[in-house]
Symmetry: C2
Subunit: 366 residues, 2 copies
């Protein structure tokens, strides 16, 4: 495998193991597994999921829904507040697949109601504490009123309540993440009960984020889970204790272009347009834009100790390391970077190269 420039490597065995674990876990809990495809945006990886029985998927835009619908997926949730300027796209999709949309406002429901020409499934987005989108879970009467409004609309079938506990990403320990799960479930159950006692039926519960879905084993009381990042994981998930380092399935291979021994720094060809500017802050308060590992045995080995990407500009990455490690790194050599947020890196790169040398495209590569 000859690498000349920043190349996103995919460790297929690791990704398949990550998938298998989540599939088995959801089977044991008898919960519907509707993985989020925004992380990989790839029909090939979609096929791997299909091999394990996945038939229903989640995406983050109507364009992504259209892409996967064209590739044979027929049951798709767009986990994003319905974007009404794309009404034509919605009708086109609704005419050919089972389409699930998210709403959180009367305006959006009224607009859909007036403009839909085909049936869609509707989920009310609930805010269980992340405060990005959704109706706050405590506002049960607002949620009830919206559910009733949906039920009265032609072409709109109310399916249930859906949330994304993105605040799980603020946690620093497994116990905190599991506490977010427990709280999410309690809050969603409370909304569900309120709707059920007021005659709305059925009310499914859909949850989904990689941290809680990875650490939790039992999903009793939940109808559907929608994690996405788990296929690849990344340095952020690893630092949170959500996965092990050897579960991270993607890494950006980058040539070394300069060495600065006095500063204990190495410059790589690999920057913000490859990795994204996502960073994490370690326990010393240092911003980390990626961890660094050597290529080894057809894959890569454990990360170098005391070594990290300290800054990124458009095409440059600066690695901070130790004198001992720097001494053994050569100009022109390839290092791999474990990305902080694999979804953004995959989106930027647009394609992946398996360790066997097969190229896997995503919808970004047109």
């Amino acid at each position: 495998m000859k690498i000349e420039k920043p190349t996103l490597l995919l460790w297929e065995d690791r990704a398949r193991n990550n998938i298998l674990k989540m599939v088995e876990k959801s089977r044991r809990s008898r919960v519907r597994f509707r993985p989020h495809f925004k992380s990989h945006q790839s029909t090939t990886i979609g096929e791997w999921l299909q091999e394990y029985g996945v038939k229903e998927i989640t995406v983050s835009s109507l364009d992504m829904a259209s892409y996967f619908a064209e590739h044979g997926w027929s049951d798709i949730t767009v986990a994003f507040p319905v974007n009404i300027p794309e009404m034509e796209k919605i009708n086109r999709l609704a005419s050919r697949i089972t389409l699930h949309l998210l709403v959180e406002s009367t305006e959006a429901v009224n607009f859909l109601s007036a403009n839909l020409s085909h049936p869609v499934n509707i989920w009310i987005k609930i805010d269980v504490g992340y405060h990005r989108t959704g109706i706050e879970w405590e506002q049960s009467d607002r949620i009830l009123a919206l559910a009733k409004r949906i039920q009265k609309s032609q072409h709109l079938s109310f399916r249930g309540i859906l949330t994304h506990a993105g605040h799980a990403y603020h946690a620093r320990e497994k116990t905190e993440i599991l506490a977010v799960y427990q709280q999410t479930l309690t809050r969603m159950k409370s909304v569900q009960s309120h709707l059920l006692v007021h005659g709305i039926h059925p009310v499914e519960i859909s949850i989904g984020d990689t941290p809680t879905c990875s650490l939790r084993d039992d999903f009793s009381g939940v109808d559907e889970i929608r994690p996405g990042n788990f296929v690849f994981y990344d340095a952020m998930q690893w630092q949170m204790g959500v996965c092990q380092e050897d579960q991270i399935a993607v890494a950006l291979a980058c040539p070394v272009v300069a060495k600065h021994p006095r500063r204990e720094e190495v410059v790589i060809y690999g920057g913000a347009i490859h990795l994204s500017k996502e960073y994490l802050v370690d326990n010393r308060g240092i911003k980390i834009f990626g961890y660094v590992a050597p290529l080894q045995g057809g894959g890569w080995s454990e990360h170098f100790p005391d070594t990290y990407v300290k800054s990124l500009s458009q095409e440059h990455g600066i690695i901070k390391t130790t004198t001992a490690i720097l001494k053994n790194i050569k100009i022109g050599e390839i290092l791999v970077i474990l990305p902080i947020h694999s979804c953004l890196t995959v989106n930027l790169m647009g394609k992946l190269l398996t360790l066997k040398g097969e190229q896997i495209n995503t919808m970004r590569l047109k």
Copy 2:
């Protein structure tokens, strides 16, 4: 102009004015103007620059050099430490255009010397204080030794010394930026003198960054300037006092998908995969991922006061605003976001839409 989803608008008149200003300024100073094409990556905008007499350009990768060479550009500097694994690409380029490469190590020079089959121009990258790449300007003997090594190599023509004063971006005021320029010039002149007195001749000086090139009028003593971002500018340049708000030539048009009056927040379809996660920190210590303005009169007007993008996830942007402004924003309406770093936004979007409705492609759109 019907906008359905995140769309990068280009205000052509503003971009052309920005270009014209820089062209006139470089003419007055009799300095070679070799604009950096990494900011726009577009053959169309390249043609605009050509209309003003630009013949020599800068790029940030060998792929970008190949792309513009295919589109007729015949004098290209790759302003990135030479990436030796791409030696074949270098020879291919060197066989057909006037190619300028940057070096900072003996390893790279030796490798080029042993593998080049066509002549290239070589610049030594000097670190004048940014500490990203280059030989530190104080190490004049190391620089001299490398220049001599280059002169002895077949196919390598030593052209001069080149720097990027990226630390100008750490400045908070115009006076600080102008001080960085002055210091850069002094340091480059000192290196130049050292080389000249030791018999290296000629030794050109190439500098280039948008902040200093925008604020400085007189480039005496410099042979070449290489700014790139100035074509579009962005919120970062504006906040630094490098440009006026009405010089910002790109903005991301985004549909509003949700409103949260209690939090004074608006959710847009437009996230990290459109804008990038670049942010700036304002004088209250708040992270700003973009400023927000309404569409107006075929373009956009001034930004809303007390309003900014407070966070971005993959496709979502959260705007923090005031109750009064929020009241007038409707779901489905289009707002424009002034990006923090236009180069990264243009790279992510891959295409631009002029206010007249013409699509302009970049090399990212394949």
